[in-house]
C-alpha cells in the first residue's frame, strides 16, 4: 500500500477499481464540457431540440471551420499566450517575494498589507476598466501587451500572495537558520534554500495564474483596441451579439480555446505528481 494512502487515513481502497470510480465521477462532472464540445458540432436548431440529443444527429465541423478560417484563431491564441506567460512570471516573482515576507514577518505591517491586498481585489474589472484606461493612457501604453500584462497581474498577484503565504510558512525556519550559519545572506537563502522547496506550490499557483490570465476578458477588450492584438476571449465574446448569438460558434471557439491550456495543465500535473513522489516538500 502506498504511503500516501496510509498517511491520509483513508479507506483501504486503492488501485484500478478506484480509478474507474474516479473516472466515472470526473466524467459526470465534466458533462457540461462534453455538452459544449458537441454543441459546436450541432446546428443551432438542434442545440435547442427537445428532447435533447446526446449525440449530434448530423455532426458538422462547420462551426469549427468557420472559427478557424474566419476568426484567425491561431492569432488570438498566440495573443492570449503572449499575455498569459509574462503575467504568470511577473506574478510568481512578486508573489513569492511578498508571500515569503508575509510568512516570516509577524506584525501589524503584515496584517495591514494583507487587508490592503484583499481589499484591492473587490471591484469587478468592468468597473475598474475606465480608470485603468486612464492610467495606461497616461503611461502611453495603450494598445500594448504591456498594459494588459500589468493590469492582469494586479488581479493574479493578490491570489498568489494569499495562497503562497501559508505554504511558505510550511518551510521550517530551522532550514533557513542552518543556511545563515553557513554564511548565506537572506537573499541567497531565499533563492537557494526556500524557493527550491516551494517548487510544487509555485508550479500550482503559476499554472492557476496562467489560466486566469488566459481567460481574462475585460482588460483585453478595453486596453487593446486593435483586433490584431486582442486575446481569444475577446474573439469568443464577439459572437454574442445584441440580437443573436452564434452559440455553436461560441462553443466551437471555446473548445479550441480550452484545449491548449488543458494540455499545458495536464503536463504540469505530471510534474506536480513527480514532484510529490520525489518528496519535493520534504
Amino acid at each position: 500500500m502506498s504511503l500516501t494512502l496510509r498517511r491520509l487515513g483513508a479507506l483501504p481502497l486503492g488501485g484500478w477499481p478506484v480509478t474507474v470510480i474516479a473516472a466515472l465521477g470526473v466524467g459526470i462532472y465534466l458533462f457540461p464540457i462534453y455538452w459544449m464540445l458537441i454543441s459546436g458540432l450541432k446546428d443551432s436548431a438542434e442545440i435547442f431540440a427537445n428532447p435533447p440529443t446526446f449525440v449530434p444527429r448530423a455532426p458538422s465541423l462547420a462551426a469549427f471551420e468557420y472559427v478557424f478560417v474566419r476568426e484567425n484563431v491561431l492569432r488570438y491564441l498566440r495573443n492570449s499566450l503572449v499575455i498569459a506567460i509574462p503575467v504568470m512570471v511577473l506574478t510568481l516573482v512578486l508573489g513569492s517575494m511578498g508571500a515569503y515576507a508575509m510568512s516570516r514577518l509577524r506584525n501589524r505591517v503584515v496584517d495591514v498589507a494583507i487587508v490592503v491586498v484583499l481589499l484591492l481585489q473587490v471591484f469587478p474589472e468592468a468597473l475598474l476598466a475606465t480608470p485603468m484606461f486612464i492610467i495606461f493612457r497616461t503611461l502611453d501604453l495603450l494598445n500594448t501587451f504591456t498594459a494588459v500584462i500589468l493590469a492582469t497581474t494586479s488581479k493574479t498577484l493578490a491570489f498568489a500572495l494569499v495562497i503562497l503565504r501559508p505554504m511558505f510558512r510550511q518551510v521550517p525556519v530551522e532550514l533557513e537558520e542552518a543556511s545563515f550559519v553557513d554564511g548565506c545572506t537572506r537573499l541567497q537563502t531565499f533563492r537557494l534554500v526556500v524557493l527550491p522547496l516551494m517548487r510544487v506550490p509555485l508550479i500550482v499557483v503559476g499554472t492557476l495564474c496562467f489560466v486566469q490570465a488566459y481567460g481574462q476578458f475585460v482588460y483585453g477588450l478595453t486596453l487593446l483596441s486593435q483586433q490584431e492584438l486582442q486575446p481569444a476571449t475577446v474573439g469568443i465574446y464577439s459572437f454574442v451579439g445584441a440580437e443573436y448569438a452564434d452559440w455553436h460558434r461560441v462553443m466551437a471557439f471555446s473548445s479550441i480555446f480550452v484545449l491548449p491550456i488543458l494540455a499545458i495543465f495536464l503536463a504540469m500535473q505530471r510534474r506536480i505528481v513527480s514532484g510529490l513522489t520525489a518528496g519535493a516538500l520534504k
Partner: protein, 295 residues
C-alpha cells in the same frame, strides 16, 4: 530571528503591495470618489463633479432591489464558500489516495474552471432550460422529479440554480489549492500517529484539518472575493432575473452604471461590496493571529 536581515523582508513585502496600490489603488479611489458625486454621461469626462455627500448611499439603501440583492449576494457568496471548500476538500482527499491516474483525472476536473465565465453561464442556461434542458430531462428520466423544475424562471429557485452553476465552475479551483496544501503536510506526522494507533478519522481530525486550516482560510477568502465579483456567469444565465431573484451586488452595480447610466449610485453599490470584503479581510487577518499562537 537571529542572523536575518529583516530589511530585505520589508523590501519583499513592499514590492507587491506597492504594485497593487499603484495599479488598483487609483481605480478604487476613482470609484469611491464617484460614489459621493453626481455623475452622469455629461460630466463623466471631468473629475470635478458636483459633490453630493452620502446622497448616493441613501439612494442605494432606499432602493428595494438593493436590499433584495444584498441578501442574495450574502447567500450566493456564503453557499459558494461552504460548498466549494467542503466539496473541494472531499475531492482533494479522494484524489490524494494515489490510485493510478489520480493526478491526470484531478487535472481534468480543472477544465470547468478554465472556461470563460460567459460560456459557463450559457452552458448552464441550456442545461437548466425547463423544456429542452438536460437537467430536467435526466431528473425526470430518473423519476427524481415529476414535473419539470423551473430552474431559471421561478424566482424561488433561480438563485439556487446560479449558485449551483458557480459552484461547478469554481470548485475545482478550490480543490486544486487544497490538494496543493495537502502535499505540504509532513508525512512523519501521519506515520507517528499511525504508530500511536490513531484511526483514519482521528488522523484527519487531529492532523489533516489543523494543518490545512491556514490554507482553507486562504481559499475561503479568495472564494469570497472571486464570487463577489463574478457576474459574467449570472449575466449569461439570467441577467439577474427573474425579478432580481438571482442578481448580485457587482452585477447590480454594473447595471446601474452601464445600463441606467447612474454612475454615482452604481459606485456606491460597489462600495457596499467593498465593505463586505473588508469584513472578510478583517476576519481573515484575525485568524492569522491564532495561527501564530498555534504555530
Amino acid at each position: 530571528m537571529p542572523g536575518s536581515q529583516p530589511a530585505l523582508l520589508y523590501v519583499f513585502l513592499a514590492l507587491p503591495v506597492l504594485y497593487l496600490v499603484g495599479f488598483v489603488g487609483f481605480p478604487i479611489a476613482y470609484n469611491l470618489m464617484m460614489s459621493v458625486q453626481e455623475v452622469n454621461l455629461g460630466n463623466i469626462t471631468e473629475f470635478a463633479r458636483p459633490f453630493v455627500g452620502l446622497d448616493n448611499y441613501r439612494t442605494v439603501l432606499a432602493d428595494e432591489s438593493f436590499r433584495k440583492v444584498l441578501v442574495n449576494t450574502l447567500l450566493f457568496v456564503g453557499f459558494n464558500v461552504v460548498a466549494q471548500i467542503g466539496i473541494g476538500l472531499a475531492v482533494a482527499l479522494f484524489f490524494a489516495q494515489g490510485f493510478p491516474g489520480a493526478g491526470f483525472l484531478r487535472g481534468l476536473l480543472l477544465c470547468s474552471w478554465m472556461l470563460p465565465a460567459l460560456v459557463v453561464g450559457a452552458l448552464w442556461k441550456w442545461i437548466f432550460a425547463t423544456e429542452y434542458g438536460v437537467a430536467n430531462y435526466v431528473l425526470q428520466g430518473l423519476q427524481l422529479t415529476g414535473s419539470p423544475i423551473h430552474w431559471l424562471s421561478d424566482p424561488a429557485v433561480a438563485l439556487t440554480s446560479v449558485t449551483l452553476a458557480n459552484i461547478w465552475f469554481g470548485m475545482p479551483f478550490s480543490m486544486i489549492l487544497i490538494a496543493a496544501a495537502l502535499t505540504a503536510i509532513p508525512k512523519e506526522q501521519y506515520e507517528a500517529a499511525s504508530l500511536d494507533g490513531a484511526g483514519a478519522g482521528a488522523r484527519f481530525w487531529y492532523i489533516t484539518l489543523p494543518a490545512l486550516r491556514p490554507a482553507l482560510l486562504a481559499v475561503a477568502s479568495l472564494v469570497t472575493i472571486y464570487t463577489m465579483r463574478a457576474f459574467d456567469l449570472i449575466f449569461a444565465m439570467t441577467q439577474g432575473g427573474p425579478l432580481d431573484a438571482s442578481n448580485v451586488l457587482p452585477l447590480l452595480s454594473y447595471q446601474f452604471s452601464f445600463n441606467q447610466f447612474d454612475f454615482g449610485t452604481g459606485s456606491a453599490m460597489g462600495s457596499f461590496a467593498f465593505l463586505i470584503v473588508f469584513a472578510v479581510a478583517l476576519i481573515y487577518v484575525r485568524t492569522l493571529k491564532h495561527e501564530e499562537v498555534a504555530g
